[in-house]
Amino acid sequence: MSQVIIYEQNGQVAVCVPTGELPINEVLAKDCPAGAIIVDDSTLPQGADAQFFDAWELADGKVTVNFEKAKAIKLAQYNANAIQIAQARQLNTLAEIANIPDDATWSASLITGRNAIAATTTTAQLVEIANPT
Protein backbone atom coordinates (compact mmCIF):
# COMPACT_ATOMS: atom_id res chain seq x y z
CA MET A 1 0.00 0.00 0.00
CA SER A 2 1.44 3.36 -1.01
CA GLN A 3 0.29 6.83 -1.84
CA VAL A 4 -0.12 8.16 -5.36
CA ILE A 5 -1.42 11.39 -6.85
CA ILE A 6 -4.44 11.40 -9.14
CA TYR A 7 -6.03 14.02 -11.33
CA GLU A 8 -8.22 14.33 -14.39
CA GLN A 9 -6.57 15.17 -17.69
CA ASN A 10 -8.21 15.23 -21.13
CA GLY A 11 -11.19 13.32 -19.77
CA GLN A 12 -9.03 10.58 -18.30
CA VAL A 13 -7.53 9.83 -14.91
CA ALA A 14 -3.77 10.30 -14.59
CA VAL A 15 -1.91 8.48 -11.82
CA CYS A 16 1.37 10.03 -10.71
CA VAL A 17 3.69 7.68 -8.85
CA PRO A 18 6.37 9.48 -6.79
CA THR A 19 9.78 7.80 -6.78
CA GLY A 20 10.58 8.85 -3.22
CA GLU A 21 13.34 11.31 -4.14
CA LEU A 22 11.03 14.10 -3.00
CA PRO A 23 8.25 14.18 -0.39
CA ILE A 24 4.89 13.48 -2.02
CA ASN A 25 3.64 16.99 -1.25
CA GLU A 26 6.55 18.43 -3.23
CA VAL A 27 5.79 16.10 -6.14
CA LEU A 28 2.14 17.19 -5.94
CA ALA A 29 3.16 20.84 -6.22
CA LYS A 30 5.92 20.34 -8.81
CA ASP A 31 4.71 17.60 -11.15
CA CYS A 32 0.90 17.79 -11.01
CA PRO A 33 -1.74 20.35 -12.00
CA ALA A 34 -4.01 22.20 -9.59
CA GLY A 35 -6.77 19.97 -8.30
CA ALA A 36 -4.61 16.86 -8.07
CA ILE A 37 -5.10 14.88 -4.87
CA ILE A 38 -3.11 12.34 -2.89
CA VAL A 39 -4.81 8.97 -2.36
CA ASP A 40 -3.88 5.53 -1.18
CA ASP A 41 -3.37 3.30 -4.22
CA SER A 42 -5.61 0.65 -2.62
CA THR A 43 -8.57 2.97 -3.29
CA LEU A 44 -8.03 2.74 -7.07
CA PRO A 45 -10.01 0.22 -9.14
CA GLN A 46 -8.73 -3.31 -8.71
CA GLY A 47 -9.00 -6.63 -10.53
CA ALA A 48 -10.83 -6.57 -13.86
CA ASP A 49 -11.68 -2.88 -13.35
CA ALA A 50 -7.95 -2.10 -13.24
CA GLN A 51 -7.51 -3.49 -16.73
CA PHE A 52 -9.59 -0.71 -18.24
CA PHE A 53 -7.44 2.22 -17.16
CA ASP A 54 -8.59 4.43 -20.03
CA ALA A 55 -12.18 4.05 -18.81
CA TRP A 56 -11.43 5.35 -15.34
CA GLU A 57 -13.27 8.45 -14.21
CA LEU A 58 -12.65 10.72 -11.24
CA ALA A 59 -15.51 12.28 -9.29
CA ASP A 60 -15.54 13.57 -5.73
CA GLY A 61 -12.07 12.20 -5.13
CA LYS A 62 -13.07 8.65 -6.06
CA VAL A 63 -12.04 6.73 -9.16
CA THR A 64 -14.60 4.46 -10.80
CA VAL A 65 -14.85 2.65 -14.13
CA ASN A 66 -17.21 3.93 -16.82
CA PHE A 67 -18.47 0.57 -18.02
CA GLU A 68 -19.70 1.85 -21.39
CA LYS A 69 -16.23 3.25 -22.04
CA ALA A 70 -14.71 -0.08 -21.00
CA LYS A 71 -16.96 -1.89 -23.48
CA ALA A 72 -15.95 0.52 -26.24
CA ILE A 73 -12.27 -0.07 -25.44
CA LYS A 74 -12.74 -3.84 -25.54
CA LEU A 75 -14.63 -3.63 -28.83
CA ALA A 76 -11.90 -1.44 -30.36
CA GLN A 77 -9.25 -3.94 -29.28
CA TYR A 78 -11.33 -6.80 -30.65
CA ASN A 79 -11.84 -5.10 -34.01
CA ALA A 80 -8.17 -4.07 -34.31
CA ASN A 81 -7.17 -7.66 -33.67
CA ALA A 82 -9.62 -8.90 -36.30
CA ILE A 83 -8.31 -6.42 -38.88
CA GLN A 84 -4.76 -7.50 -38.15
CA ILE A 85 -5.68 -11.14 -38.72
CA ALA A 86 -7.57 -10.32 -41.89
CA GLN A 87 -4.57 -8.45 -43.27
CA ALA A 88 -2.20 -11.26 -42.31
CA ARG A 89 -4.37 -13.80 -44.11
CA GLN A 90 -3.61 -12.18 -47.44
CA LEU A 91 0.06 -12.94 -46.91
CA ASN A 92 -0.45 -16.56 -45.96
CA THR A 93 0.65 -19.42 -48.16
CA LEU A 94 -1.94 -21.72 -49.62
CA ALA A 95 -0.94 -24.37 -47.11
CA GLU A 96 -1.58 -22.00 -44.24
CA ILE A 97 -4.89 -20.88 -45.69
CA ALA A 98 -6.00 -24.49 -45.77
CA ASN A 99 -5.58 -24.68 -42.01
CA ILE A 100 -7.68 -21.66 -41.03
CA PRO A 101 -11.47 -21.51 -40.87
CA ASP A 102 -13.21 -20.38 -44.02
CA ASP A 103 -14.27 -16.76 -44.18
CA ALA A 104 -17.91 -17.48 -43.44
CA THR A 105 -17.06 -19.39 -40.27
CA TRP A 106 -14.58 -16.75 -39.21
CA SER A 107 -17.00 -13.87 -39.90
CA ALA A 108 -19.65 -15.63 -37.87
CA SER A 109 -17.24 -16.02 -34.97
CA LEU A 110 -16.49 -12.29 -35.10
CA ILE A 111 -20.17 -11.45 -34.91
CA THR A 112 -20.54 -13.84 -31.99
CA GLY A 113 -17.65 -12.14 -30.22
CA ARG A 114 -19.00 -8.67 -30.81
CA ASN A 115 -22.44 -9.70 -29.59
CA ALA A 116 -20.83 -11.20 -26.48
CA ILE A 117 -19.10 -7.89 -25.78
CA ALA A 118 -22.37 -6.02 -26.22
CA ALA A 119 -24.13 -8.39 -23.80
CA THR A 120 -21.62 -8.00 -20.96
CA THR A 121 -22.60 -6.29 -17.75
CA THR A 122 -19.29 -6.36 -15.84
CA THR A 123 -15.62 -5.74 -16.59
CA ALA A 124 -14.89 -9.30 -15.41
CA GLN A 125 -17.05 -10.59 -18.27
CA LEU A 126 -15.26 -8.30 -20.72
CA VAL A 127 -11.88 -9.67 -19.67
CA GLU A 128 -13.10 -13.23 -20.26
CA ILE A 129 -13.90 -12.59 -23.95
CA ALA A 130 -10.93 -13.69 -26.04
CA ASN A 131 -9.79 -11.64 -29.01
CA PRO A 132 -10.27 -13.13 -32.50
CA THR A 133 -7.89 -15.85 -33.61
Partner: protein, 132 residues
Protein backbone atom coordinates in the same frame (compact mmCIF):
# COMPACT_ATOMS: atom_id res chain seq x y z
CA UNK B 1 29.48 22.12 -4.57
CA UNK B 2 27.10 19.73 -2.90
CA UNK B 3 28.33 16.13 -3.00
CA UNK B 4 27.30 12.77 -1.73
CA UNK B 5 29.62 10.08 -0.46
CA UNK B 6 29.45 6.57 -1.87
CA UNK B 7 30.59 3.59 0.21
CA UNK B 8 33.51 3.63 2.61
CA UNK B 9 36.22 4.47 0.06
CA UNK B 10 35.90 8.18 0.65
CA UNK B 11 35.22 8.81 -3.01
CA UNK B 12 32.59 11.49 -3.45
CA UNK B 13 30.31 12.09 -6.40
CA UNK B 14 28.11 15.03 -7.35
CA UNK B 15 24.58 14.88 -6.04
CA UNK B 16 21.70 15.02 -8.53
CA UNK B 17 21.26 18.80 -8.23
CA UNK B 18 24.89 19.30 -9.27
CA UNK B 19 25.03 16.54 -11.84
CA UNK B 20 21.88 17.83 -13.56
CA UNK B 21 23.79 20.93 -14.62
CA UNK B 22 27.08 19.19 -15.49
CA UNK B 23 27.91 18.31 -19.07
CA UNK B 24 28.92 14.93 -20.42
CA UNK B 25 27.28 12.81 -17.75
CA UNK B 26 24.02 10.96 -17.32
CA UNK B 27 21.49 13.44 -15.93
CA UNK B 28 18.84 10.98 -14.91
CA UNK B 29 17.80 7.39 -15.35
CA UNK B 30 15.06 5.06 -14.25
CA UNK B 31 13.60 1.67 -14.71
CA UNK B 32 9.91 1.18 -14.00
CA UNK B 33 7.56 -1.74 -14.40
CA UNK B 34 3.86 -2.20 -14.91
CA UNK B 35 2.00 -5.12 -13.42
CA UNK B 36 -1.70 -5.05 -14.21
CA UNK B 37 -2.08 -1.31 -14.11
CA UNK B 38 0.21 -0.69 -11.17
CA UNK B 39 3.32 1.31 -11.97
CA UNK B 40 6.33 0.49 -9.80
CA UNK B 41 9.58 2.41 -9.97
CA UNK B 42 12.32 -0.20 -9.60
CA UNK B 43 15.26 2.22 -9.38
CA UNK B 44 15.90 5.78 -10.42
CA UNK B 45 18.22 8.75 -10.27
CA UNK B 46 17.03 12.37 -10.48
CA UNK B 47 13.49 11.27 -11.32
CA UNK B 48 10.76 12.62 -9.04
CA UNK B 49 7.76 10.82 -10.51
CA UNK B 50 6.36 8.69 -13.30
CA UNK B 51 2.81 9.57 -14.29
CA UNK B 52 0.61 7.19 -16.22
CA UNK B 53 -1.60 9.51 -18.28
CA UNK B 54 -3.31 6.69 -20.13
CA UNK B 55 -2.52 3.17 -21.20
CA UNK B 56 0.95 3.29 -22.73
CA UNK B 57 1.38 7.03 -22.22
CA UNK B 58 3.65 8.41 -19.50
CA UNK B 59 5.17 11.62 -18.22
CA UNK B 60 8.58 11.35 -16.55
CA UNK B 61 9.52 14.28 -14.28
CA UNK B 62 12.99 15.24 -13.08
CA UNK B 63 13.79 15.93 -9.45
CA UNK B 64 16.25 18.64 -10.48
CA UNK B 65 15.52 20.38 -13.78
CA UNK B 66 18.06 20.10 -16.59
CA UNK B 67 19.89 23.14 -18.03
CA UNK B 68 17.99 22.97 -21.32
CA UNK B 69 15.52 20.72 -23.14
CA UNK B 70 17.97 19.42 -25.76
CA UNK B 71 18.99 16.38 -23.79
CA UNK B 72 19.33 12.93 -25.30
CA UNK B 73 17.17 10.03 -24.19
CA UNK B 74 17.69 6.33 -24.54
CA UNK B 75 14.49 4.39 -23.97
CA UNK B 76 14.00 0.66 -24.12
CA UNK B 77 10.82 -1.28 -23.54
CA UNK B 78 10.04 -4.95 -23.19
CA UNK B 79 7.02 -7.05 -23.94
CA UNK B 80 3.50 -5.89 -23.20
CA UNK B 81 2.53 -6.20 -19.58
CA UNK B 82 0.66 -9.45 -19.06
CA UNK B 83 1.12 -10.61 -22.65
CA UNK B 84 3.78 -11.57 -25.14
CA UNK B 85 3.32 -8.70 -27.57
CA UNK B 86 6.35 -6.63 -28.52
CA UNK B 87 6.24 -2.94 -27.65
CA UNK B 88 7.99 0.07 -29.15
CA UNK B 89 8.74 3.36 -27.39
CA UNK B 90 7.92 6.68 -29.01
CA UNK B 91 10.15 9.31 -27.46
CA UNK B 92 8.31 12.54 -26.58
CA UNK B 93 5.19 10.80 -27.84
CA UNK B 94 1.58 11.14 -26.72
CA UNK B 95 -1.53 9.05 -27.27
CA UNK B 96 -3.42 11.61 -29.35
CA UNK B 97 -2.79 13.82 -32.34
CA UNK B 98 -0.24 15.30 -32.99
CA UNK B 99 1.31 12.40 -31.04
CA UNK B 100 4.23 14.56 -29.94
CA UNK B 101 4.89 16.87 -27.02
CA UNK B 102 8.10 18.89 -26.87
CA UNK B 103 10.26 17.97 -23.88
CA UNK B 104 10.89 20.58 -21.20
CA UNK B 105 13.69 21.04 -18.70
CA UNK B 106 11.50 19.49 -16.02
CA UNK B 107 9.80 16.56 -17.78
CA UNK B 108 9.19 14.64 -21.00
CA UNK B 109 6.57 12.26 -22.33
CA UNK B 110 6.82 8.74 -23.61
CA UNK B 111 4.28 6.70 -25.56
CA UNK B 112 4.51 2.96 -26.11
CA UNK B 113 2.78 1.21 -29.01
CA UNK B 114 2.27 -2.40 -29.99
CA UNK B 115 4.10 -4.09 -32.84
CA UNK B 116 1.22 -3.68 -35.27
CA UNK B 117 0.92 0.03 -34.48
CA UNK B 118 -2.74 -0.36 -33.57
CA UNK B 119 -2.81 0.41 -29.83
CA UNK B 120 -0.95 2.08 -27.00
CA UNK B 121 0.18 -0.53 -24.52
CA UNK B 122 2.10 -0.77 -21.28
CA UNK B 123 5.46 -2.47 -21.30
CA UNK B 124 6.32 -4.87 -18.51
CA UNK B 125 9.61 -3.00 -18.09
CA UNK B 126 10.73 0.38 -19.36
CA UNK B 127 14.24 1.74 -18.96
CA UNK B 128 15.31 5.33 -19.64
CA UNK B 129 18.64 7.15 -19.53
CA UNK B 130 18.98 10.89 -20.00
CA UNK B 131 22.27 12.32 -21.23
CA UNK B 132 23.39 15.83 -22.04
Amino acid sequence: MATTSIGSSGVTFPDSSTQASSSGVAKAWARFSVSGTTVSINKQYNISSVTRNAAGYYTISFTNSLPDANYGCTVTTGIQAGASTTSYPQLFGTNASPYYLAPTTSSFTLAIINASDTAFIDSTYTSIVIND
